[in-house]
């Protein structure tokens, strides 16, 4: 559209204040295009959301990790999800420092690729898996789990992964295998906290074989529909929802099947405070604080009373049978 030149002087001419600035007139097309694009964008976003609603809304920070809904009993809790910002800024990952804000601040030095996980020990087919092979090993599922930290706070996180049992079955455990040990990366170059003597590195955790084979035990590659952020244990971690959070080892490099109960890093450093099982149990207190209640991060108001912690973190129906007849005060 041509721009009509403005005549000067005559009566009935517009006041200078009524004239649209030249730049605005000339930019009209650009502006209209932008408005149209924005409108279309909103429409597209709404359309894309129909798809995303099936899973957790993606925060859009990291590459997507597609997953299907899970059919595992107890695999999806109905609690409100913790905000992605809280779940990625309030972490215990001592390889990057002991303060809960440290991992978000320092974990960018972690290189989650290339990455291999060695599955070894008492198995017929020991194998070193490349991360890409693991990503394709079984169909990814989204599991919405409660996460209860031994410190008395909790979150609800949509994880992406598959049952660890899939991997263990493939390597064919021998009859003598009774436990599974998990070893995390401990590289001073990538992890500044490893230079401190807080724990005996590398971080080690363990499960009884039947716990490791339980369908709720998740080998995890993502959260909130995306790959794991470094501070949450990229590129592959464990999530055992009925145990305190520290049992779910992060940035795993070795999975070893063994015949004797492994000593975890926390058992080694404070055996009276952290036992091998570490099941969430409101009746067994930590020596320094009560485990009867918890604060749900981002959910419970500052002055709200803390919520009661359920037995096995609410997964009693699924996992209580694993511990039938055991004195859980003795085996804490």
């Amino acid at each position: 559209m041509p721009i009509t030149p403005i005549r000067r002087g005559g009566p009935g001419d517009p006041l200078p204040s009524e004239i649209t600035p030249r730049a605005w007139v000339e930019n009209r097309r650009t502006w209209l295009t932008q408005v149209a694009a924005a409108a279309a964008g909103t429409g597209l976003a709404a359309w894309a959301e129909r798809d995303a609603l099936a899973q957790a809304t993606r925060p859009g920070k990291l590459p997507a990790l597609a997953a299907q809904r899970t059919h595992t009993a107890g695999g999806v809790v109905m609690d409100k999800l913790t905000a992605y910002g809280d779940a990625t800024s309030y972490n215990n990952f001592y390889e990057f420092g002991t303060d809960k804000s440290d991992p978000a601040q320092y974990a960018r030095t972690l290189r989650p690729r290339p990455w291999t996980v060695s599955v070894e020990g008492l198995v017929n087919k020991p194998q070193r898996f490349d991360l890409d092979a693991l990503l394709k090993l079984a169909p990814m599922e989204e599991r919405i789990y409660r996460l209860r930290c031994v410190e008395g706070w909790s979150m609800v996180i949509p994880w992406v992964g598959w049952s660890l049992a899939e991997l263990i079955k493939r390597v064919e455990p021998q009859g003598s295998a009774k436990y599974v040990e998990f070893v995390s990366l401990a590289d001073r170059q990538q992890m500044p906290g490893v230079s401190s003597g807080v724990l005996d590195w590398p971080y080690r955790e363990g499960l009884r074989l039947d716990e490791a084979l339980h369908p709720l035990t998740l080998l995890t590659f993502g959260m909130y529909g995306e790959v794991l952020p470094n501070q949450n244990g990229a590129p592959v971690r464990l999530v055992v929802p009925w145990k305190y959070g520290f049992k779910s080892a992060k940035s795993i490099v070795t999975i070893r099947l063994v015949d004797k109960q492994p000593t975890s890093s926390w058992m080694a450093v404070a055996p009276r405070e952290y036992g091998f099982y570490s099941n969430v149990n409101p009746q067994v207190d930590h020596p320094r604080w009560s485990q009867a209640t918890e604060r749900r991060i981002g959910e419970d108001g500052l002055f709200a009373r803390k919520r009661p912690t359920p037995m096995f973190n609410g997964y009693e129906a699924q996992v209580a049978s694993l511990y039938a007849g055991m004195d859980l005060r003795k085996y804490y």
């Binding site: 910002g85 809280d86 800024s89 309030y90 001592y94 002991t98 809960k100 804000s101 706070w153 003597g197 807080v198 724990l199 450093v269 404070a270 405070e273 207190d285 020596p287 320094r288 604080w289 009560s290 604060r295 991060i297 981002g298 500052l302 002055f303 709200a304 009373r305 803390k306």
Partner: protein, 211 residues
């Protein structure tokens, strides 16, 4: 230098400025809380923040006498009471944060919790021991009690320091983060040692008075 410092302390603006500095950490915590900038777990931040400032003001209070005796900063003496009461105020806020944010003002649960956890009990004991000191902080109380008795009562603060350090040590024991505990332990240690050394260097006759 010393004279210059003592002069500065007696400046009319010094006292209001000092009060403002004492309130600053609390104002900082409150404003961060109102702006929702206390992180994912604001209750924990408030609990930790008030606790840490209690310990810091306890150290500052304990530093007054050695600095007066050793560095000749006599003008500091007028601030000892303010610093001590600030320490007590932060201790009160710390206890309230625990009883309210952590225990939900459930006194039976709080008592049970204190009975169960030496860590909490030691902190509570330190707080309780500060109460009589705060209550007898005004001039008339000193006259009522008599200087000697007042001084003996207020030596309880040394016990409070030990309990506070133990409380802090147990807090950090879980994560084996002892560096800060060592720093505060060293500060309190030096301040205590300075008192002992000073007392030994006093002539016999003055020994009683120079506590």
């Amino acid at each position: 230098m010393t004279r210059w410092f003592n002069r500065l302390c007696t400046h009319p603006a010094a006292y209001p400025l000092m009060l403002l500095l004492c309130c600053a950490p609390a104002l900082w915590l409150i404003s961060r809380g109102l702006l929702n900038q206390l992180g994912a777990n604001p209750a924990e931040s408030l609990l930790r923040g008030t606790g840490l400032w209690t310990l810091r003001f306890l150290c500052l209070t304990l530093a007054v006498t050695p600095l007066r005796q050793w560095a000749g900063l006599t003008a500091l003496a007028r601030w000892r009471r303010t610093l001590g009461l600030t320490c007590f105020t932060y201790a009160t806020l710390h206890f309230l944060a625990y009883a309210w944010l952590d225990m939900g003002i459930d006194w039976t649960a709080t008592l049970k919790d204190l009975g169960k956890r030496p860590f909490a009990l030691v902190g509570f004991a330190a707080f309780v021991l500060l109460v009589p000191l705060a209550l007898t902080s005004f001039n008339r109380a000193i006259r009522w009690l008599g200087a000697a008795r007042w001084r003996r009562l207020h030596q309880v603060v040394y016990g409070v320091a030990v309990l506070a350090l133990l409380h802090f040590f147990w807090l950090r024991a879980g994560k084996h983060r002892f560096s800060e505990v060592l720093v505060y332990g060293a500060i309190v240690g030096v301040l205590m040692a300075a008192r002992l050394v000073h007392r030994r260097h006093q002539p016999m006759g003055l020994n009683r008075k120079a506590a």
